[in-house]
Amino acid sequence: MSHANTSNPNGINKARNNILAKLRGAPKPEHIATLERPTHNWAEVADPIAHFSQIMETNHANVYRCNQADLPATIEQLLAEHQLTSTLASKDVLTYFPELERKIPLAPQTDLTEWKDQLYNHTDACLTRAYASIAATGTLVLWPGANEPRCLSLVPPCHIVILDTQRFYPTLANFIEQEKLAQGLPTNLLLVSGPSKTSDIQQTVAYGAHGPEKLLVILLDTE
């Protein structure tokens, strides 16, 4: 088996072999209950969209809802409402909103190192797409990739995300199973359940610890 190239491959192999040998030398458990790994849903969610919205709002996110025709107006409205002037959008958003580029510039299609300063210091919001959603916990699934850099949903103080209301799953277990994720994951799959926060000072919640302080979710009815 091939191994990581390090300055001292022999030493590393030695550690690996020792660890595995010690584990193999340990007694095998006499009885381990055979677990039926659960394939069922952990919880039934009666009205996924309402449930999702309620938890999201409790977690300090703003939730909006519109249909495709109203999407441009909705975006315009929330840009004004939150006074967002320098905004970038991911290419994935064009799926829902082909004329988007006239309103919000797309993030450069080059390596982030070339526009790092712009993103870190001169962008107050980014618009991305949610891949899916998990109703039970009020969670967005983000699937960054070639058209949607990971940092768009992370670095600026505000993250606007469009979620297709057809893309609801009741639970994470159900999502993993239905999407056959075990057979293929992206380099970075993210679950996001609100704006960045911390309770590290005297158990007092503060938003915008390191990631976005604001999370604006647009529920898009695509039918």
Binding site: N8, I19, D111, A182, V192, Q202
Partner: protein, 481 residues
Amino acid sequence: MHTSAQQFKPQAHDALANPVIRKNFRGAMDFLRNKRKGVIPDDAEFHALQKVCEQIKQQCLAELPELLEQLEKNCLANGIQVHWAETPAEANAIINALIDKHSGVDVVKGKSMVSEEIGLNDYLDARGKSCIETDMGEYIVQLAGEHPSHIIMPAIHKNAQEIGQLFHDKIEDTPFTTDVDTLINIGRQQMRKRFEHAHIGITGVNFAVAETGTLCLVENEGNGRLSSTAPPVHIAVTGIEKVVKYLADVPPLLSLLTRSATGQVITTYFNMISGPRKSDEKDGPEEVHLVLVDNGRTQAYADEQFRATLQCIRCGACMNHCPVYTRIGGHAYGTVYPGPIGKIVSPHMLGMENTQDLPTASSLCGACEEVCPVNIPIPTILQRLRTQLNQGNADKRTLRGAGSARKASEAMIWKVWRYLCVHPRLYRLATQSVARLRKLVPLVKSPWNQGRVSPKPAPKTLNELLHKKGKTNANKPWMIV
């Protein structure tokens, strides 16, 4: 303030006498317990899920060597390089070499208890590398020159007043404030530039999924995402017990982890990393490394009962519910992992000779076991550790440093006691002597009467009393018993 496990007793004593520590921990523990209760309204649901999580971890441990190999194979296939370290020194050397390879100086670190365990910050510091903690709580303790006092909330021992003063003293042009939003924003601004320009990002791992070669990170702040996304190199460091077999094992474990830890149904971010960036991606690290650390875990693994220690998913619920931890706080233990889980995991990492007092710092009330999401029998393990500490039979000393607390005098007392108990005449003679000489008993100095009234034996032994009763109630035999 640096504490050590050898000084547990004086440290616990100091903590008990410190009203700020007492108040900060009491408040924080009540808060965390209530939060947990809020998301575990149904005991039956909790116990059912606890059973599932316990079995998942037991099964994964039963197949641990195979799963580690599978994890390694799938990580390599995904482009994640895998390194193995038996000791903290090896782990630090691997990480240091990786940083050197990339001529890195600026390191940002997301919260990682294993990096605390191996003493990574001090190691890198001594080699001219600056490793900044980016988790707000970790950042605060690093700024104060301290170590975390809780595995989930590292700065839980400090109040806003103390943190405001710390920022004012240590960060330039920072006026004193106790406003939490302002303080957090100061922390955010301090770390923005570091994230933008860091060479290396280091994080821990909550679950490493063998079947997909995926590293999962649980967090609320986004610093874990930034540390694993912004710098060109991401190094994840974790203990060998964090591997799970299937991706489908993650949802139940994640659900109980976040609910037990902070009372959240899920954290703000759950970050699943399955490789460095692909050629068409515009950001993300170019290299991802996984460092698998043993550091005593194989010793725990070698014994079927101690193996349960490795089921731990590091939620901290056992600390939050521990009457000892609540009163003395995290620093008094002098170990990276404090509280009940710390007492059962530290002896394997540091040796029993260095952690002698820890297994005794428990009333065995069982609250830790009750709330444990993976059902670790902590009180039972503590009792086993006590036996190991005092084990006289060299063949039965299976742990490093076992038998180190054994005292010849104590062993002799127990031997005499055992002898008396099986020799009734001698036993009677001994107890009668104590009863007759009862006025002298308070003169015997022992730790028992340092804080308590000395016990005074009764003038007559139980045996004598019963004997007398037996005579007067000769016609009522049931009274004799």
